[in-house]
């Protein structure tokens, strides 16, 4: 370890310091002046953006004896996490105030979760992976339980914690098997060890299966998806937004490090597992979403189906596929943030706006937000020229490039099924009469952020080139 190692983790140090500072200030500050936490939290994220930007270089650097890595993929993912988290923080203010939940803990936990994500994305040793993952997960568990007077919220937190603990255990067991056989925690070391093998022994295969199960749990792939609808539904909308977007980006990084960098050589062994997980996710996600009347549950199942698509990119098992999966994840995070942003925005005290019926006649109440929701739904359904179209196209292209036509056909057919429930939201907004005639009150800051968030889904769809090439450089 030397001083240059610390240069690599400047953004992480900054976020940690700021989170601690807010924690300390909280003890001395009067409860009327909570706006300060909010502003400090946003400052932290913007500071992190700047630091990551300044710290960025082309190439790849390892630090702390190879346990920590900084490369383009890590920087891009972190960058998107900051942005998406900042947007969700902006959306959250009004929501939390209305429920008397506007407390510093939310932002402190959020920042710690972001720190965990950053470590997870940059992890290059199984130990760092676990460290980042647990920091992120523990913060998220608390955030889900944050609205502690709400029964649904407490129940969700309980389920998330127990099942998450189970998944952690499985992950640890898998990692210990891999460590036991290969004798190293370093991902590069694991990869080297695997490359030297003629055939893979049973313990290493078992370890791989355990690791994949944990990944599948964190991603929310069927059949390890059971927590997703309940947690999405039970948590406050702001927490749901956070889990489904920022955390998804981190888990993508987690999968890339562990599965591709560490065990990429075993692709012939894990590919079949991923195919099963992917097809099941597409199937269950898209079909069960149809029956949902709650938009948060619907979006939960929609997430499951998107995970199916992301897994398709991994299944292609080449840089093209990985970058397509990355593009998919990034754009999903952006559109997901906008979708939950609208859900958050339409809710008010005592009313969560989480039933699809609550969107009836939105066009007549506020045509701009209806239009933004339309953009988001079109993007998720994969309608050109929205970015969701390119995301699906790239993934499918990667799969077809590998000659797996049947998989592409299944994915396309099931996304046609999926189009139904996205379009239903649009239909309800534009063609049904409004039941709720309450005025929608939105601050100008939120309005601007949400509008640019949703329009980004259109803009990236019209000009996808930059992001696509960024993802390609990040992977190669």
């Amino acid at each position: 370890m030397n001083m240059s190692d610390f240069a690599l983790i400047v953004p992480e140090i900054f976020v940690l310091t700021m989170a601690s500072v807010i924690l300390v200030i909280d003890a001395f500050l009067h409860s009327d002046r909570r706006e300060i936490f909010y502003l400090l939290a946003l400052t932290t994220l913007f500071g992190a953006i700047i630091l990551t930007w300044v710290n960025h270089f082309d190439g790849r650097a390892l630090g702390f004896n190879g346990t920590f890595v900084v490369d383009t993929m890590a920087d891009v993912l972190k960058f998107v996490i900051y942005l998406v988290t900042a947007a969700i923080f902006v959306y959250s203010r009004q929501y939390l105030k209305a429920r008397d939940l506007f407390k510093s803990e939310f932002y402190i936990l959020g920042l710690f979760a972001v720190l965990g994500m950053m470590i997870l994305i940059s992890a290059h040793s199984m130990l760092t992976v676990y460290l980042g993952l647990e920091l992120m997960s523990l913060s998220l568990y608390s955030m889900v339980a944050f609205n502690r007077n709400n029964v649904l919220s407490s129940e969700a937190a309980m389920k998330y914690f127990v099942l998450g603990g189970f998944a952690s255990g499985v992950l640890l067991y898998g990692m210990s098997l891999v460590y036991g056989v290969s004798g190293t925690l370093d991902l590069a070391g694991v990869s080297e060890y695997l490359a030297a093998q003629q055939s893979f022994s049973a313990p290493i295969l078992l370890g791989m299966v355990f690791i994949i199960v944990a990944l599948a749990f964190k991603l929310g792939a069927v059949p390890f998806h059971m927590w997703v609808p309940d947690i999405y539904h039970g948590s406050s909308s702001v927490v749901t937004a956070f889990i489904s977007t920022s955390a998804k980006l981190a888990v993508f990084g987690f999968s890339m490090r562990l599965l591709i960098e560490g065990m990429g050589i075993m692709q012939d062994s894990w590919r079949d597992i991923l195919i099963i997980l992917s097809v099941l996710s597409l199937l269950i996600g898209n079909i069960v979403a149809i029956a949902q009347t709650n938009i948060k549950r619907m979006l939960a199942y929609s997430t499951i189906s998107h995970v199916g698509f992301i897994l398709l990119g991994f299944i292609a098992a080449n840089p093209e596929g990985y970058s397509a999966a990355m593009f998919y994840t990034v754009t999903y995070a952006i559109t997901g943030a906008a979708a939950f942003g609208i859900v958050i925005l339409l809710s008010r005290e005592g009313f969560e706006a989480d039933n699809i019926d609550d969107y009836k006649g939105l066009n007549y109440r506020n045509s701009w937000y209806a239009f933004l929701m339309l953009l988001v739904m079109f993007s998720m359904a994969g309608v050109p020229p929205m970015v969701g179209f390119y995301a699906k196209l790239l993934v499918l292209k990667a799969v077809i490039g590998q000659g797996m036509y049947w998989l592409a056909i299944v994915a396309v057919l099931l996304s046609v099924v999926g189009a139904f429930y996205y379009l239903r939201v649009i239909k309800v907004m534009y063609f049904d009469g409004a039941e709720d005639r309450n005025k929608i009150i939105v601050g100008s800051g939120v309005h601007a952020v949400l509008s640019s968030n949703a329009l980004l889904a259109l803009l990236l769809g019209l000009f996808p080139g930059t992001l696509i090439s960024l993802c390609l450089t990040a992977i190669s």
Partner: protein, 653 residues
Amino acid sequence: MVEKIYLAIPLLPLFGAIAAGLFGRYIGRSGAHWITILSVLGSFVLSTIVIKHIIFDHASVYNEAIYIWMISDGIRFEIGFLIDELTALMIGIVTFVSLMVHIYTIGYMRDDPGYQRFFSYIALFTFSMLMLVMSNNFLQLFFGWEAVGLASYLLIGFWHQRETAILANLKAFLINRVGDFGFLLGIAVIFAYANSLDYAEVFAKAENLSLQTINIFAGSEWNVITMICILLFIGAMGKSAQFPLHVWLPDSMEGPTPISALIHAATMVTAGIFMVARMSPLYELSETALNFILMIGSITALFMGLLGLIQYDIKRVVAYSTLSQLGYMTVALGASAYGAAIFHLMTHAFFKALLFLAAGSVIIAMHHEQDMRKMGGLKKYMPITHWTSLIGCLALIGFPLFSGFFSKDSIIGAVQYSDLSAANTAYMALLAGVFVTALYSFRMYFMVFHTRDRMDEHTREYLTETSWVVTMPLVLLAIPSIFSGFIFEPIVFGEFFSRSIHVADSHNVLNELGSTFEGIQGFVMHAFSGPVTYLAFAGVGVAYWIYVIKPQFAVDMQHRFNLIYKFMDNKYYIDHLYINVFSVAGRAIGKVLWKLGDNVVIDGFIVNGSARAMGWLSNVLRHLQTGYLYHYAFAMIAGMIALISMFVIAVNI
């Protein structure tokens, strides 16, 4: 600089159309006509500059892309202009006739509530037609082709409250669809075999294509060029109203007469003629296609002229005359006398525009009465209309020294020299056509302007010459109707089109005709040595005898040959064939497919059936989500065990 001029020529009318169409409410009636007239005037002035530049200064041919839309698989899709003598002449005709129409419309549509809309349509039409003739590639040609079709559809159905107008525009649209289908297939074959949409590139490959064959049905080999030429010509048959796709044109007279009629008759229908002339490098390679064109043209020229004999509606006489004259142009194309065809197109544009506007003038004066049986003796009430109509009729029948004389005689002379197998038949049909043309033209002329007054008292009382906005275009059109024939020598015989039109040496009939040419005087004298002029005179004489001296004769003939009369009155039953056979059969097939295919199989089984199945599955699967933590944990463990077992089985621990 020239690009800017070329670009401005079509864009000015488009601007006018948008202004009058979308903002008509704000700019008002006079605003709408000023803006469109000035924009078309602008195009006309620019066109004359282009004509001077290309034709008189012999500037080099302009063939450039203005805008590249996309490049896909190496094939360029672009907007570009090809400006040579042919284009220059066409844009001159189009903008001039269009300008006349615009001015005339002020008078004709004065009281119509859709005033601005009408100006928007005719300006849009002008834009489309200009895009068509200026194109340098098939894509833009097709765009212009369809756009004029759209404008024509809108114009014919302009009075959309009228049942007949709606029927007529539907008919025009559907019949043109048949033609356009052929046209599009032709472009598709070009695309498939030449791998380009650019005229110049396709022409360069034409020689090579003529050596290839295409297998449509098993065992029948077609030459690719013949295939392309005939398919493209089917498009021209629709647009230029050639037999048997001519049925829409007489009905199109439902539009506000005679403006839209004129648009169709003098301008739009020439698109097909223009297209074939433009594609001469292709047509020259296929004698089969040329023979086909000759046959179609001569059938149209003679038989459509015959129908003009029995019409009483003044517009319809002019409409059938148009069909017949288009047949002449088509025959000229088939005989490879492209120069003569284009020349006849030009002279015809002038005198047919004149005749249409004169008919319109009569109709205005008669308070929208169109039946010639209720006219007569208008000469004394409407002197300007009368004299200009006479000029139009003389030009139409090819009276010596009038413009039509030169163009028509060149065509007939050229066909005489053609060696194609269908040329003899065509020649006979055209000769008969000359007599028929003279007969129906002067039948109309005598019935309208001479003979005793047959209108009612009320109409007669108010019968006066129409206002200057109507008569001015008449006079302006009468001038070229007389004199435009004198410039025929360079166009028909000379090198005028040498840069635009390619004629194979073996087909060069105009050259042969030109070798006997000894000045205009000689040409006129020569005409008296052949049958053509005498036939025209005979037609006029017979018309005078039947309709002025012995009106009873026509009625007697009608009774005696009642069967033939009925056959012609029903337009040879072609409409019946289309409506009662094709259309009924088409609807029957459609109904079966709708009831069985769409309602039962697609909607019932595939669409709703799969939707129901998904809904059911969704409702079943959602029950897996019980909400119990131990169920969730169990599912995870079960999943994990299943995945592990895969490897247990695979590795055989």
